[in-house]
Symmetry: C2
Subunit: 416 residues, 2 copies
């Protein structure tokens, strides 16, 4: 790694540094591991750096599965209707096999968030259900942190255009890369050390929250008055962690959140999104929903409402919460003032909730429990897991104890 | 398809036409099939056309597995030594699963034929053995024609540079695409009809050869005096054919050869290659070998001799023949005068033999036989199948009957 100040590095050297952080900090890849990478065809120059870095770290094999927005769109435009209930199970099963034999997983996000905006929402929903079902065995190994994995972002023209609509494409892409570099905390002189320090800070906050044993969180802000019950034996998590294979990894780059498992039957009140949501190529704006005993009973959006309604109808768990997360408004991503239209970034700019599947790792001994036991603690099950931003500089959060008393936790978006 | 004469088409329209021939003639893809495509990152614009065409033909899913020369090289330059005995078995098994559930296979060749020329031949050989072992179940389904498959070529800068070393890159790539279009027989007004006619012509020649029941072929030319015994119950094949799943496909585009299974123990004499061979990134030039009772007992090459020797030492079958093929010197590919450094083209420009695995389909009822039964007929088994050009305008071929009498079959490279 170069010792030059980040600002003096060439773009190529900056990409090198992000590749290094992906492999050494994100995956913490060990000699003899294999890696399965998913990325966009727009990421080729960056992926080539990742591949070289992975082999330097001792990878035995790096398999890159390139996704192509153009090909994905061609399917919606040309394939027969029955195709949308079909998905290549052999590939999903193969990836699960890879994880079972200790392959690490690296995902590079950046696909066009609005790719499918003109496509039939029912086809999109059917295709997502088919893909989620096929990928369930693989994704369970990921959500249970059986293996080390990491997800980070690479700029693409379509994404950059959405974040910087007024700039010419080249400039927009360059600005988005800069935003990714900053948010991913690679702009210091020693990003590996910076990540270590950042992880320790989050871990301290997580320990504090775990000591509290709150029964619920109470969110109050514009359009929001929501009580989110927390699951029995819930655990707060955040930053990096040790996976089932014994390897410490940073699963999200960037990561700013402390998150835990809500109780699937104890969420009540109204909540209004503080940012729009891009879900599988559709933009959903100004979401507002009402919960009763854990379940959404009313849902509105000023754009993409049909997609939202299809999403929460996927299965019973899709209309219940699987995650609640606290992020201070002073997070560098929030301070950038950018709307990324990408969950990895936007969820680390604001407190959020997620519809769908809960993380077993956020229940005490959850990794060893079967689904029914997890459900009995209040942890939700679903084919989906969709994060959704509710926090802002105007949000207050109280911790609620089992006896109903409350104490302030965040005031105007900042830790008290 | 446009009705304009081929020469008046834009490059983009020419690619459209090759994509159409790949899907409709090569695969003859059926509604509801899935397709697994392998291609180089240099083929993205062409692959996008193939994907759209496949969905138009009714594909339920098209999975493109992109290969990257740069990533492949990065492995040789950076990976630990033990990596070269390792291969992602989950992917190979997944592909075999796909074929078992009736997925079609489309391969686009064009990777840099000289990519690995400076790499350690022993690492290359170990990596190839590991990959071949993992891919054996999938490749068996392909060589037995259980499913419809096709392999064709797309130009890449590295390949074009090798075929046209004196031209600037852009021009070389354009010239190579033109050569691919001509060789692939898509330059007529109706390439689908042209392929039908071409297939019928080859079928007539195949029927003629099958009627002869030759016991052996005798090749005589500069540096060559070789008797290739033919397997018991051998069948000649060529052009397209009906696969195990009932679909007629053209497995090779282009294809000009009539080929059959030699007897693994009845090959004797000396043979000198008429063209260099590019094997897994290494160029092997001026090959000359001597066979005794089917097995190579002496092997020389002026370049790449070590790679050649490693290749024939992979297993017992690697030093024996699995295919013999006749191609007239008047084939359009031979007449182009180009050396393609790519087996798909060069093997259709000259009579050839192949080391290694025989095609079960070239033995009567071979698809239903186990390996031991196939071996007892003289059909060879090996992890490898490497074609190798021996024909030219100076080659005479005689058909040898069981009683030892001979009749002329090709004279100076042309059918008698
Ligand atoms: Zn979260
Ligand atoms: Zn989440
Ligand atoms: Zn052949
Ligand atoms: Zn062959």
């Amino acid at each position: 790694m170069s010792n030059k100040p980040f600002a003096n590095l060439t773009f190529d050297e900056k990409l090198d540094r992000l590749a290094l952080v992906a492999v050494r900090v994100g995956l913490n890849l060990q000699e003899g591991q294999e890696v399965v990478v998913t990325a966009s065809l727009d990421h080729i120059p960056f992926i080539r750096k990742v591949v070289a870095e992975a082999y330097k770290a001792g990878a035995y094999a790096v398999t890159v599965l390139y996704q192509d927005d153009v090909a994905a769109l061609a399917r919606y435009q040309n394939a027969p209707d029955a195709a949308f209930d079909y998905t290549p199970k052999w590939l999903a099963d193969g990836i699960a096999d890879a994880f079972r034999s200790n392959a690490a997983r690296l995902g590079i996000t950046g696909a066009n968030p609005a790719l499918l905006k003109d496509q039939d929402p029912s086809k999109i929903s059917r295709a997502n259900v088919a893909a989620s079902k096929a990928m369930k065995p693989a994704m369970e190994l990921v959500t249970r942190h059986a293996i080390n994995w990491s997800i980070l972002a690479g700029a693409t023209p379509a994404w950059a255009k959405l974040v910087f609509p007024d700039l010419p494409e080249n400039e927009a892409v360059a600005r988005l890369w800069d935003a990714i570099f900053s948010a991913s905390r690679i702009t210091g002189d020693d990003p590996v050390a910076d990540w270590k320090q950042h992880g320790e800070n989050i871990m301290k906050r997580v320990a504090l929250l775990n000591d509290k044993r709150y029964h619920a969180l109470h969110f109050r802000g514009p359009g929001t008055d929501l009580v989110v019950g927390l699951a029995d034996d819930h655990l707060w998590a955040g930053g990096g962690g040790v996976c089932g294979n014994g390897i410490f990894c940073n699963a999200n780059i960037p990561t700013e959140e402390c998150f835990t498992t809500p109780h699937k039957d104890r969420v009540n009140g109204t909540v209004t999104a503080s940012k729009p949501l891009s879900h599988q190529g559709t933009l959903i704006e100004n979401i507002s929903v009402r919960f009763e005993n854990g379940k959404i009973v009313e849902a509105h959006a000023t754009a993409g409402e049909e997609a939202l309604k299809k999403l929460i109808a996927v299965d019973d768990g899709a209309s219940r919460l699987g995650e609640v997360a606290l992020v201070p408004h002073s997070s560098p991503i929030a301070q950038s003032g950018l709307l990324f239209w990408n969950t990895l970034f936007d969820e680390n700019a604001a407190s959020h909730i997620a519809l769908g599947q809960a993380y077993a790792t956020c229940i005490k001994d959850g990794e060893t429990m079967d689904e029914a036991t997890l459900n009995s603690k209040g942890a939700n099950s679903s084919l989906i897991h969709v994060d959704w931003m509710i926090g802002s500089g105007k949000m207050d959060v109280h911790g609620v104890f089992a006896d109903g008393t409350e104490e302030p936790l965040m005031r105007l978006g900042e830790w008290v």
